[in-house]
Symmetry: C2
Subunit: 201 residues, 2 copies
DNA sequence: GGTCCAATGTGGACACTGCCAACATCGATT
DNA sequence: AATCGATGTTGGCAGTGTCCACATTGGACC
């Protein structure tokens, strides 16, 4: 029975893990730096050796979230036949992520991002949007969306799925199951984005 | 020079006003019950005679916000000739409100609503959505949108404007002025909702 | 192999918060 | 005029984020 070493070894990673679990359990409101430290069996000040402050730890959590979101969108889209189907699936994956990890999603988007504070997080966020943008551009190359600058189209698509995710999490929708929500989301994407297919941009 | 009376008179209203101003200044994160009391020249415990706790005060702030939002949408729509134009204007008013009062908007939507906790707030929120719904239904009566249940259409429109508002507030858009944002929003509404015009629902 | 040092841990302190309890004041009802 | 409930006040408690001084250590350097 040896006593635990004074130095942890990979505390930073453990803190991040613990923080993500805690956010999931208690939400951003109940989230506490000291509780993270407690669960990591470490003094209340240890986290400060790895994160400048509470916000920086949350930014790291958000960064991880953006990476997972990007991965989820890519996975959902891959092996889909048509460009259009890839776009649809990635949009649905976005919504699915939002409602499956509501607290994480909140941390990622409900802090006005100052890229100066955490460029890594900003980069991860831009990459998530970038994958959506790439699917839009792919649709254009396949003539499934009108040609031109893909950016505005991507912003519209993003706004739509983001709005659905946020409103669903805020309990603003009349749906009683995730299945219902996803069915609605499909129709929403088809209706809104589909309406812009093959028309002059 | 008379000393201030022991009993304030209309402290509840003053607290609400003060809270709204404070939210505007410091945002939901820095918002503090004690600071509200301080600014109202009242002891740190006085607010508890009028609001059960901090969340209830915030709920009251949110309620007021929903009323303002509803009014803004109605005002923007009125005296517009076509049903379609009314829908457009009310949607733009929603976005405009979101970016003009970002903190207030956050308080309104970024707390998972439990209608049990504050039915008045829930009602005010539903009414805001109800006005959007009514404009959709009006479009349908004027044959500017396909007939059928207006609810899904309204939810799509809501998601879109909500998403735009949220992403704009989170600094996620590449626009450099509110004008640019509103121009984009117009195109977004026309493209997404316009695409669903006059097609089988 | 011994010495230093920067990285990483600890405990203590401070100001601040939300909320609770006990007490003070006062206007309306009797 | 007495009273009583509504509405104020002061004081206290536990918990928080962050700063400071101090402890421990593994590895670089001679």
């Amino acid at each position: 029975m040896r006593k635990p070493p004074y130095h942890h070894g990979n505390l930073r990673a453990v803190l991040l893990q613990t923080a993500m679990r805690l956010i999931r359990e208690v939400g951003p409101a109940g989230f506490t730096l000291r509780e993270v430290a407690r669960r990591a069996n470490v003094s209340h000040n240890a986290p400060y050796r790895h994160f400048r402050n509470k916000d920086q730890l949350l930014a790291a959590v958000a960064t991880e979230g953006f990476r997972e979101l990007t991965a989820a969108m890519r996975t959902a889209a891959e092996s889909q036949p048509s460009a259009w189907e890839r776009l649809r699936r990635s949009g649905l994956a976005y919504i699915s992520f939002a409602v499956r990890r509501p607290e994480h999603f909140t941390v990622m988007f409900d802090t006005p991002l100052n890229p100066r504070d955490d460029p890594v997080c900003a980069k991860a966020g831009e990459e998530a949007f970038g994958t959506l943008l790439s699917f839009i551009a792919y649709c254009q190359r396949q003539r499934e969306l009108p040609p031109g600058d893909p950016l505005p189209l991507a912003l519209v698509a993003w706004s739509l799925v983001h709005g659905i995710g946020k409103l669903a999490n805020a309990n603003r929708f009349p749906f009683h199951s995730k299945t219902e929500l996803m069915k609605f989301s499909e129709k929403a994407l088809d209706g809104a984005l589909g309406g812009m297919r093959r028309k002059p941009g």
